[in-house]
Every structure is written in structure tokens, then in C-alpha cells.
Amino acid sequence: MAFEGLSAKLQNVFKNLRGKGRLSESDVKAAMKEVKMALLEADVSFKVVKSFINDVTERAVGQDVLNSLTPGQMVIKIVNEELTKLMGDETVEIELKSGNEPTIIMMCGLQGAGKTTMAAKLAGKFKSKGRKPLLVACDIYRPAAIEQLRINAEKVGVDFFQMGTGHAPVDIVKAALNHAKAENENVVIIDTAGRLHIDEEMMQELITIKEEIKVDHTLLTVDSMTGQDAVNVAEAFNSKLEITGVILTKLDGDTRGGAALSIKFVTGKPILYIGTGEKMGDVEQFYPDRMASRILGMGDILTLIDKAEAQYNEEKSKELEKKIRKAEFDFNDYLEQIENMRNMGGLSQIMEMLPGMGMGNVNLNDFDADQGEKGLKMVESIIHSMTAKERANPDLLNPSRKNRIAKGAGVDIADVNRMVKQFYESRKMMKQMSGMFSGKKKGKFKLPFGFGG
């Protein structure tokens, strides 16, 4: 159920409401039924959904519908705001001690959540911030877990400590701390074996580490695809180990990730990082507002905007925005956009972040990124075959110029025609988009899309 689905359903619920201007109790209740379904489909825990729906209903009843919004949008706005509030109001950074005093971080979680991979990713992240991390292998059970951590430690270029499978984890940690001291390492990340939260014996192993060593951060790693059980897992780990933060993994999948909300709700502990891919650099800060949108199925459009913003300098984008507004956007800008888009991680990554894309019903398999890249290359070669004047003034193009360009780029004139047509279309679309998003508090939507090809 993508956002479009929820949105359409809400429009349906409110179709008789047009012009009333205020949300009545029965309207809100009907809408909340749909929201409830959407949240359950996103794997938010039933208990959490129930309590959330009650709160939001209370808040929404009697609300004036803002002029610019339909009642359905108004409900989504309220739901999204409440959801964001629940997810935590701000991004939380993990606190590292200053100087050479080591910060001790212990990973924990169920089997297969991604602890070992994430431990190495975090080490890489801290290293890039100028820290000196040490990875400690305490998974003495899973075959080759130590080897996995060793290889990943090598990949991110940080030191690695192990004592094989014959020692108790608490003893390994103690020895590792001495090692860290001797090597002046100031972040110690302990990888532990995956364990069931109801396995008393295995949980005791971690409790012992916490009793004997001053662990600064106990991080629960959770697979973002977890279903209703997320509450049980989080509750158990939190009550036994007093976790300090949560890491969500495998968010590069198409899960809506309702587990995030459940975990935050039952533990109250911040979600710190998210795992977004197989590469060691694929670890990101957690943004509560974006996760809220994702759970509701609104895509991660904010991440997209953020990524786009990072690529532009402010002035340039202002200029660009002006151009878009006036539809002065020319081929030079178009070319630049293509480059920027590449820098952002390529077409498929951007597509995945758009609402509805890569989520549930819409299948990214339908979109062929390679084909898209080929198309982009052709667009580039066509633009490169234009004169400076033509690039700055797209209206100049006439059949004979197009013919010359086609020859220069080694393509058919039909390709040139198509590309020019697309250029005008995306210019038009951009103008509309810039208008659409200009009212939003998160800043203006500055990313023009020319999906050529």
C-alpha cells in the first residue's frame, strides 16, 4: 500500500467533506481506519498502532482544514507530524569521549540482524572522523563470524582483535581493552553473537560483560524488516541490557520499516544509524521525519532533497530556481543536472527514494537503470554537439541545426528531436514542481529531473 493508496483511500473517505472545512469525529474515525491499516501493513506493532490512533484521533477531531489542503491531506499532515514526534524529534549522534579515553560500544541483537557488518561500518565511520577504532570479535559461536569481522576490519582499515573461540567473551573484551590502551585506540566496538532475547544463558553472557566492563553504549541492531515481534525483542533487550540506542539495518530494501516506530515506542531509546547497503560506506544518520514518511509510505523525498542540496552550492541553486520559475532553464543547466544526478548515486538510487518507487506495489525492476544511464549518455553527447549559443538558447534549434547536431553526436535526428522534446517537458515539469514545493517548510524543491533516454 503505497502513499498513493492511502492518499486515494483518504480522498474517498472525505469525498463528501469538500467545503466543510473542519474535521468531524466520524470523518476522522473513518480516516483513521485507513491509517490503521496502512500502519499495520507497514509492520507497526498492533499495540503501538492502537495507542497512536487514539492520540491522533483526539488531536485531529475539530481541527480546521488549512485552506491549501484537502481534508485527506490535512489528516496525513497531522498523522505525519505525530508520527515524527513519536520517532523522536531530532537526529541523535553517538557521543564519543574526548581525547584518548576509549569509548566502549557493544553491539547486540538477534541472529542475522547485521551486527558484524554494522560494527565494521561504524568503525569505518568513526575512523573517517579522525578516531582510532578497534573491532573486537566476541561472536565465538557462529562459524567464521570472526573471519567475517576480520575481513571487514581490513576493508575499512581499522585494527582488529580476536582470541579465537575458546575464551569467554568477557575475557576477550578485557584483553581487547588492554590492547586498545597499548595502541592508543579510542573507540572499542565489540561484536557479539546473535542471540534470542528469550535465551537466558546467552543474554547472561552480555549482562556479564556489562557488569564487569564499563560499556558506554549498548546498541541494539534490528533488521528493519522485522514484524510484530519487534516489540518483544526490543523490550527484552532493553530490560536486560539497558540499551542506549538502536541501529536499523537493511533499509535499502523495500520494507516500510514499521518496526522502527514500535522499537522507539517501547524502549524510548533513540535510533542512531541506518544500514543502507552492502558496501562498508553504506551507513547513514537516522532522520525521524524521513522514517515517518517512509512508514506512511510517502517515500523518502526528504533524503532526496537533502542529497540534492549537498551537491549544489546555495547560490547556484537559487539561480537555478529562478531560471526554472521563468523557464529559462537551458541545455547547459540540463547537462549540469545530469552530472549532479550522477554524483548523487545514479538513477536507480534516486528512483528508490521517490515516493511510491521501490515500495510495495511499484517495482524497481520495471525501471531499467542501465538503460537510463545509456539514455543519459546519449543526451550528454547530443548536448556536447551543440554550439554555445544553442545550449544557452534552446529555442534556436531548427531542423537544419538539429541535423548537424545529430551528425555530430552520431545519433539519429529522431533521437535529437526526442531529447529536445523531453527537455521542454522536464522544464515544464520542473516549473510545476518548484511551485508545488515552494510552500513547504523543508525548503524548496530544487531538483529538476530530466530522465532522458
Binding site: G112, D223, D252
Partner: protein
């Protein structure tokens, strides 16, 4: 570690049902404690009763759609048969879920023919572990087994599989980390043919089902088996993590687009996860669940029995004494 295997071998003698019951104890406890209280708290079948029931099913990860269908079906049957008693209603529910999850008669045919079993799934669901257990079980039943280490991506994956195959005493075909998985499968298929192996088990790298390139790689691997070993009986098992929520459906669907899925393994059912996704998948995709994983021991990978699974799931506390 080898002691552990011997131990687990002895435990096997305790009988399949007692092990299943033990593994599912927590599962059963959580779902049935919910259900039992519902069934006893209500003296008649009314809207509140249905609503509670619906909630319980959703909380078991059965999913909104499957739950709605199950409930509609239940309501209809209750009406048709003039059922007034919540206990009878419970039996109906068990029957209807059980029916949906039936395993076809030829589900384990691959054990009796020269076969290639591909094991696929997203990251961290337990593919390698499941293969290790399956290899051990097949070997113990006298089959000649070869295992292909086609997860050449994840650090340590080959070593992990090597440990398992060593324990099981079966042959492993592998190359170095980072090599082409298709080449590993090619080698393994030829080894299986020339050594007349009964079963070739192929481990593959975990891949999220929305990664197009990785899914294409799977298609390519399948093609190689098709081409090199056309006579082999083919079995393609998708491994799903029992704690996974609704996303497991998307996984099963999309793996089904690149591979001809013949069955599902649901792992990690020894936790508090209720495994309801198994019901949703049987219902929505008609792919049979063939194995469930209920623990760390080699015999904790069990053939899926819908009747005992469903009954164990729904049995009230007093029924456990039987």
C-alpha cells in the same frame, strides 16, 4: 562442536513431534495464550469476539489482507453451520488455516532423484545455516551430498559453510571470495554429475529482492544449471526469516520472478515471533512451506507439517499435556 552434533543426533530419537513441540513452545505459548484467553473470555460469538480474534491474527504477522480473508471465511462458515460456541469456532479456524498450508505430496521428491537445490533469500535469514543442517540430515539418511559455496560476496561466508560441511562430512565446492558465483555453480554441477551425487545444495549470497543486478545474477546461475544439468530434479527454496513482517511477501514474490520457487524455509521460529507470515504466504502466493527452523541444532531444521504446526500454534495449555 562435533559432540554437539552427536548429541543432537541422540535427541532426534526423542521423536519429531516432541522436538517440534519443544521448538514451538514459545511460539505456541504466545499465540495460544492470546487465543485461549479469547476463547474462554467469550461465551458467545459476537463482533467483539471477532475483533479480538482479528487482532490476534494480525499480531502474529499474518497480515491485514490474509487476516481479513481468513475472518470472512470463518464468519461465513460459522453462519452456514449455525455455530454458537467459541470453542467450535476455534476448531474451524484451525482447519481453515491448516487447509491453506497443505504441503503437496511430492514436496520432498528431490531427496529421491538426482537433484539440484538452490537456496536463496535476503541477507541474514539463515541460508548458510539451513544448508548446513540440510546437508547433515541428507548425509545421515545415506545420501551423497555436494554443497556449492556460491555466496562469494559476504566476508567469511565460504568459511562458515566449510565449517558446516566439515561437520556434516560432505564435499564442498568453492572458490575464493569475490569470484564469480556462476562459475562456482558450474563447477559444482559438473562435480555432482561426475560423482553421481544425489543432491547438490547451492548456497547463494543474500540479496535484497529489490536489487535488480543481484536478482539478474540469480537468473544467470539458474540458467547455468538448466544448461549444464537438464536432467536434474530442480528445487528452489526461498529462506525467509520468521521474525520478518509483511516484507516477506514481497521477498517471496520477487524471488519468484527470477527463479521458479518450489518451496519456502521459515527460520528462527524458536523465538517469540509467531511465524504467521507462513500463513500469509501460503494464502497469497500458494508456495508451500517445506521446512521450518526452530533452533541451532542440526535437526532443528524440520519438515513442515501443517497439521501439527497449526495445532501446536493454536493448542491451549491443557492440550499440551497429551
Amino acid at each position: 562442536m562435533s559432540e554437539e552434533i552427536e548429541n543432537s543426533g541422540k535427541k532426534e530419537k526423542k521423536g519429531f513431534f516432541s522436538r517440534l513441540a519443544a521448538g514451538l513452545a514459545k511460539t505456541r505459548h504466545s499465540i495460544s495464550s492470546g487465543l485461549s484467553s479469547i476463547f474462554s473470555a467469550f461465551s458467545q460469538i459476537d463482533d467483539d469476539f471477532y475483533e479480538e480474534l482479528e487482532e490476534t491474527l494480525i499480531m502474529a504477522d499474518i497480515g491485514v489482507n490474509a487476516t481479513m480473508e481468513i475472518m470472512d471465511n470463518l464468519r461465513e462458515k460459522v453462519k452456514e453451520n449455525h455455530i454458537k460456541n467459541p470453542e467450535e469456532c476455534k476448531q474451524l479456524l484451525i482447519d481453515s488455516i491448516c487447509e491453506q498450508m497443505s504441503v503437496p505430496e511430492d514436496a520432498y521428491e528431490f531427496e529421491n532423484k538426482p537433484s539440484v537445490v538452490m537456496v536463496i533469500g535476503v541477507n541474514g535469514v539463515g541460508k548458510t545455516t539451513s544448508i548446513g543442517k540440510l546437508a547433515g540430515q541428507l548425509k545421515n539418511s545415506g545420501k551423497r551430498v555436494i554443497v556449492a559455496a556460491a555466496d562469494t560476496f559476504r566476508a567469511g561466508a565460504i568459511d562458515q559453510l566449510a565449517t558446516w560441511t566439515e561437520r556434516a562430512g560432505v564435499e564442498l565446492i568453492s572458490q575464493s571470495e569475490g569470484s564469480d558465483p556462476a562459475a562456482v555453480v558450474f563447477d559444482a554441477v559438473n562435480a555432482a554429475k561426475s560423482r553421481k551425487a544425489d543432491v547438490l545444495l547451492c548456497d547463494t549470497a543474500g540479496r535484497l529482492h529489490n536489487k535488480k543486478n543481484l536478482m539478474e545474477e540469480l537468473r544467470k546461475i539458474n540458467k547455468i544449471v538448466d544448461r549444464e544439468y537438464p536432467d536434474a530434479y530442480r528445487e528452489t527454496l526461498v529462506v525467509l526469516d520468521g521474525t520478518t513482517g509483511q516484507n516477506a511477501l514481497a521477498q517471496a514474490k520477487q524471488f519468484g520472478e527470477v527463479a521458479d520457487i518450489t518451496g519456502i524455509i521459515i527460520t528462527k521460529l524458536d523465538g517469540t515471533a509467531k511465524g504467521g507470515i507462513a500463513v500469509a504466504i501460503s494464502k497469497e502466493l500458494s508456495i508451500p512451506v517445506k521446512y521450518i527452523g526452530v533452533g541451532e541444532h542440526i535437526d532443528d531444521l524440520q519438515k513442515f507439517d501443517p497439521r501439527s504446526f497449526t495445532e501446536a500454534l493454536f493448542a491451549g495449555e491443557e492440550d499440551n499435556q497429551k
